[in-house]
Amino acid sequence: MSQAVEERFGRYGGRFVPETLIAALDELTAAWARAREDETFQAELGRLLRDFVGRPTPLYRAERLSERVGRRVYLKREDLAHTGAHKINNAVGQALLAKRMGKTRIIAETGAGQHGVATATACALLGLECVVYMGAEDIRRQAPNVARMNLLGATVAPVEAGARTLKEAVSAAIRDWVATVEDTHYVIGSVVGPAPYPALVRDLQRVIGDEARSQALDAEGALPERVIACVGGGSNSIGTFYAFLDDPVELIGIEPGGEGIESGRHGASLSAGSTGVLHGALSAVLADEQGQILEAHSVSAGLDYPGVGPEHAHLRDTGRASYFPVNDAEALLAFRELARLEGIIPALEPSHAVAWLLAESGSESEDAAASASRPGAAGAGAQDGFDLLCLSGRGDKDLDEVIAKLAEIDG
């Protein structure tokens, strides 16, 4: 890959940030352009991904889920990566890059805590100082991950502004970075933010799709018909989609529908947002008619974000990928459904993707059928095609929240 590190995706992306950061973004762009061509860097990253992260993660044919939805479904097991989610792919890569750039201090934001844990882990591994900004509300609902970060030697900095969730945590991290650019690298957790982050994080997450594509060819001798992933900021989805962009494969992103699009309480910026600037990039955002950014709502802290990566906005506009919302209640039920069907407890984020698959095949449980928004194109595709779904993380972090919420649903 000798193409430039992209600054824009169609009309989206860019660098809508204070002037103070421009030099650091230039430096990062140049460093990444060099590092990703550099054999020593790639060898070191490859070794860590294999021996530390545990890659390649398996592509698992989910028999009972397949039976339920009436077509073969493969799960890309990012839940089996070290620290329990795909976030580690990006965190290790960026921490390695930061070290190469001579930065001694790392900052990050986190929503679900997965990216914070992944970054704290990478910093422990490489001996870097680590500060993680986290909304006070997320600190409450993702307590086990806060304990993990502390144990790993990171400082968790609570953010009290706004709804005290992911959006404010990103803002706090950017403000820190404006003041500390000289010795600090900001490890952003998804394909959002100013250029080069959307391209950088995608490059580090494309390993998911690169592996999955060749694993699918090995298993089936064919490409999947549909590739499905949940979309928060959009990193596990773009990482999965990227290898398939030039293939005749349907790409489907699932956004958090929260309490329903009609309720206005959701996080579906691609399905129901407008075009605007959030955290330095032009993309799809949730904003009012004056341009004030709105709070997102999702049962899943990792999807609770009123923006999305600019490359997704471009893929949506060109029609290359399609995006559908799935509501909180459907995701909660799918969480339990997958646990019981496959012995896999998924994170709430990819539970949205599982829920879409169940609903779309008309095979969700009765409870879910009652609360389903019936997203997406009706009816399964061709009989002998198969689906590939990115199971981006495991659900341990969500247990308390899900058990309480399921009790409400079950009445």
Binding site: E19, I22, G162, V178, G276, V285, Q290, G291, Q292
Partner: protein
């Protein structure tokens, strides 16, 4: 005492009416042998009515130019004080319209430069935004998250409405980029005094900052104002020695925040501005 920025900082380079008014304000201060005093206020904060009273107080207390912030939900260049003020203003129902009432209140007396974030301009549309500002009598716009290289349409719309687009230059800005920013600057150049967001800081004008500002002044045809972190009359005087204009933001916003009512807020900002003006004159 501030040296004249450059003789060309007059209407010679000004195409827009807004730019000419800004240039005249700097020239008037220079004639009095001092830098321009440029207080910042958050429009619509703490509410629309109080905000208009504060704008009047700024004009009455010797502001040469007023910088007027439009409340935004996610102001990335701002520290906690201005962010909190924006949140309070939004909660009080203030938006672009209410903030611009404060502009219209004083724009016939003092040139007003509006500070707004990109997303608000894109949401309303560049042309509509610019014409609303022009209607309220604004002279220029500062967009802290629209660096060189972004927002061609926004730039055109602002120029089309006769407003000056004031760029920011940071100490981290690379030399070649600095020259490019200087080349397209309108109204004045906003030299960012700190590596960081807005917010009160203690400290003197260090060597590096002095060099940074004087280098900009040597190269630019428009005046150079310095802002971010300037919080006391003593600092205003010290920065006034090296720049064409001095911007005070968080300190004044905090005075308003801490005041028990509008009257107290007006008294507090007036007192500060009088002291600052005196320090500049001294």
């Amino acid at each position: 005492m501030a040296e004249p920025a450059s003789p060309a900082a007059s209407s010679a380079t000004s195409t827009g009416a807004g730019e000419a008014r800004v240039a005249a304000a700097f020239a008037a201060a220079r004639e009095q042998g001092r830098a321009a005093l440029m207080p910042y206020m958050m429009g619509g904060f703490p509410d629309a009515e109080a905000s208009r009273a504060i704008a009047r107080a700024y004009a009455d207390s010797g502001a040469d130019l007023i910088e007027l912030g439009i409340p935004f939900s996610d102001p990335l260049a701002d520290g906690p004080v201005i962010h909190a003020a924006a949140t309070t203003a939004l909660e009080a129902g203030s938006g672009l319209e209410q903030a611009l009432e404060s502009c219209a209140e004083v724009s016939d007396r003092v040139p007003v430069v509006v500070m707004a974030y990109s997303n608000m301009i894109l949401a309303v549309g560049g042309e509509a935004f610019a014409s609303r500002l022009a209607d309220a009598g604004a002279c220029g716009v500062i967009v802290p998250d629209l660096p060189l290289g972004e927002g061609a349409e926004v730039r055109e719309a602002i120029a089309g409405a006769g407003l000056a687009l004031v760029p920011l230059v940071a100490q981290t800005t690379e030399p070649s980029r600095r020259l490019e920013i200087i080349r397209i600057a309108q109204g004045f150049i906003y030299a960012v005094a700190v590596i960081g967001t807005t917010g009160e800081r203690s400290g003197d004008v260090g060597e590096a900052l002095r060099d940074f500002v004087s280098d900009l002044r040597e190269r630019a045809e428009v005046p150079v104002s310095v802002g971010f972190g300037i919080s006391t009359p003593e600092q205003v005087a010290a920065f006034g020695e090296v720049a064409d204009g001095v911007i005070v933001g968080s300190r004044l916003v905090r005075e308003v925040q801490d005041a028990s009512d509008t009257e107290a807020a007006v008294a507090a900002v007036s007192r500060f501005l009088s002291e600052a003006k005196e320090a500049l004159d001294g």
